[in-house]
């Protein structure tokens, strides 16, 4: 069967630690401008999938087989320099704890300049793009002169997103990006991701254990358990009429705001 390629297409992906297979994924597709939610609990393999897409699984001692294609180009067989040109640039990632994602010894602006220069921007261009990206995430460009420790968790997560924007990333891998944030700040970050998808056409793979957050943000949902996909489909369908018993249990576990005891 000939399925259209998709922006990012994963097929037969397997990630293993020695004999132990932690991810075994038949197919996952992320289209242009689409937000796909990868949902599952600890140990479901969702974060290892992210590392595999970034070509970083070997750094934690895992081996990867199968196919990961970006616009039809196979990533798993790329040489390290070719992969570096893609990782961080075309495929960016944000993580749960933005405080540990940035070096504490550089000012935010320097972090931008270093990343942009590494990917070929001139000094003046880097400064312009950093300021523009900060405005896109509704932060004052003044914050570029501060150190990461002088920003709040919500501001830092916006900076991480701004960095992806400044690099003109086409795909954003967001691994539990709001799990450490307060609920009002989480809501703002979700709004931001949604609006950036609209304005830039960025594709987002959103990884979360929280099905309510996935429900708010994502077009498609992929539910993982023990490294396997147990259910996938349009978010409205999977979350309103789940068929897999595990998905049903996950949904029933979300605390309801209905009635007090």
């Amino acid at each position: 069967m000939n399925i259209p390629a998709g922006k990012l297409a994963i097929r037969g992906l397997e990630v293993s630690f020695g004999e132990r297979r932690v991810v075994s994924m038949d197919e996952l597709r992320l289209d242009h401008g689409e937000i796909v939610g990868l949902a599952g609990e600890s140990g479901s393999g969702k974060s290892m999938t992210t590392l595999a897409i970034l070509g970083l699984a070997h750094t934690v001692g895992a081996t990867v087989s199968g196919s990961i294609k970006l616009d039809g180009q196979e990533l798993t067989t790329l040489s390290p320099p070719d992969l570096r040109a893609i990782r961080g640039r075309r495929i960016a990632a944000i993580f749960q704890s933005p405080a540990t994602a940035f070096s504490p010894v550089y000012k935010v602006g320097t972090i931008f300049t270093r990343a942009l220069r590494l990917h070929g921007a001139s000094k003046a261009e880097a400064a312009d793009r950093a300021a523009e990206a900060m405005r896109q995430v509704l932060l004052a460009p003044d914050l570029l002169r501060r150190y990461p420790s002088q920003l709040s968790g919500g501001q830092l997560q916006r900076v991480a997103i701004a960095l992806a924007l400044a690099l003109r990333a086409e795909i954003l891998l967001a691994d539990e990006p709001t799990s450490a944030l307060d609920v009002t700040v989480q809501a703002e970050v979700l709004d931001l991701l949604r609006s950036l998808r609209e304005s830039t056409g960025m594709s987002i793979l959103f990884i979360s254990h929280d099905l309510a957050v996935v429900a708010e943000l994502c077009d498609q949902v992929v539910v993982m358990r023990g490294g396997l996909i147990v259910e996938q489909g349009p978010a409205s369908q999977v979350l309103s009429a789940p068929t897999d018993p595990y998905t049903i249990e996950l949904l029933e576990s979300v605390p309801r705001l209905a009635s007090a005891p």
Binding site: S195, E216, A260, P261
Partner: protein, 326 residues
């Protein structure tokens, strides 16, 4: 009407220049009863729990347990209070001694308070583990051999071992996976009925208070913004902050069909709180009065109190900016 087990009056706690808790009054009836303390980082919710356990010093106000001022307790009276008031922390990894077997950890509490004769401790530990939904065999294991949910069950079993009348549950499920969280909530719900437990449940999650607390207090920058029956707060919040907090909670059912109230900015610096209502810089309804006059907590309905000059407008359905994104 049952008497109050715990009363906080104008509680204040100071960390250096920061007044982390500023004039909080709360009443907790004897169990079974759950009072939820909900708020964001820096709201003072955990500090209140710690002050109740006398783990931090009060800067002002009073806490009475069973009519006794806990600040004046010494010696045997204090020890008795320490038995009566127990805590379960968010992260059982840090609250269980990694070098101690589970059984020893629980038995230590039993010995310290002389709850049962030494020779009966093993039997009691087995009973407590069973009550917490664990196999009694777990007594010989170490914390690292257990999952996060199992460790939290051990922490609950240890807290209950000394037959407390008051529990402080400080984000007891925030570090757990969602299915594990559901099971722990069910456990707490079952235990509260069996043991007539009264508890303060500290959380940032409206879903958790909705399942376990009759009453909820919403805290903002060390003050009570609103307090009332949990169902009322969820369905008819009278404070703009409660309204916004409620609307920010993601829900599976309402996805995509609901507007969210936008709160500009982050909570202000607690070391230099704004004048007037501390919420006014982020409040979409703020008027001049809010910038100068501190709102006092007042009744808007029986048992429903709110600290907002504009509560009536909020209850009447005042419009707040809900543009998904600016």
């Amino acid at each position: 009407m049952k008497g109050d087990l715990l009363q906080l009056r104008d509680l204040a706690v100071r960390y250096g220049p920061v007044l982390a808790v500023n004039g909080v009054s709360l009443d907790l009836p004897a169990g079974p009863f759950g009072l939820g303390l909900i708020g964001e980082s820096g709201s003072g919710k955990s500090t209140i729990g710690r002050a109740v356990l006398r783990l931090v010093r009060m800067a002002g106000g009073s806490i009475t347990f069973d009519g006794q001022d806990i600040a004046s307790l010494r010696g045997a009276g204090l020890k008795e209070y320490r038995r009566n008031a127990q805590i379960v922390f968010q992260d059982p990894d840090n609250s269980l001694d990694p070098r101690m077997r589970i059984g020893t950890t629980i038995a230590e509490a039993l010995h310290a308070h002389g709850v049962v004769p030494r020779q009966e401790a093993g039997e009691r530990v087995a009973g407590l583990l069973t009550e917490a939904g664990l196999d009694p065999e777990f007594a010989v294991r170490y914390p690292h051999q257990l999952s996060g949910g199992q460790r939290q069950r051990v922490a609950i079993a240890r807290a209950l071992s000394v037959q407390p009348r008051l529990l402080v549950l400080d984000e007891p499920t925030s570090a757990l996976d969602v299915r594990t969280q559901a099971r722990i909530l069910k456990l707490i719900s079952g235990l509260r009925a069996e043991r007539d437990l009264a508890y303060l449940l500290i959380t940032h999650n409206f879903g958790v208070v909705s399942e376990l607390c009759e009453q909820t207090a919403v805290l903002y920058l060390g003050r009570v913004a609103e307090i009332g029956p949990t169902g009322v707060l969820l369905s008819r919040p009278a404070h703009p902050y409660t309204h916004a907090l409620r609307s920010a909670v993601p829900e599976v059912e309402l996805a995509g069909r609901r507007s969210r109230i936008v709160l500009p900015g982050d909570p202000p610096d607690a070391a230099s709180p704004p004048p007037g209502c501390v919420f006014h810089p982020r409040c979409p309804l703020a008027i001049d009065r809010c910038r100068t006059e501190v709102p006092v907590l007042r009744d808007v309905a029986p048992g429903h109190r709110v600290a907002c000059h504009l509560a009536e407008k909020v209850l009447a359905g005042a419009q707040m900016p809900t543009s998904g994104y600016r």
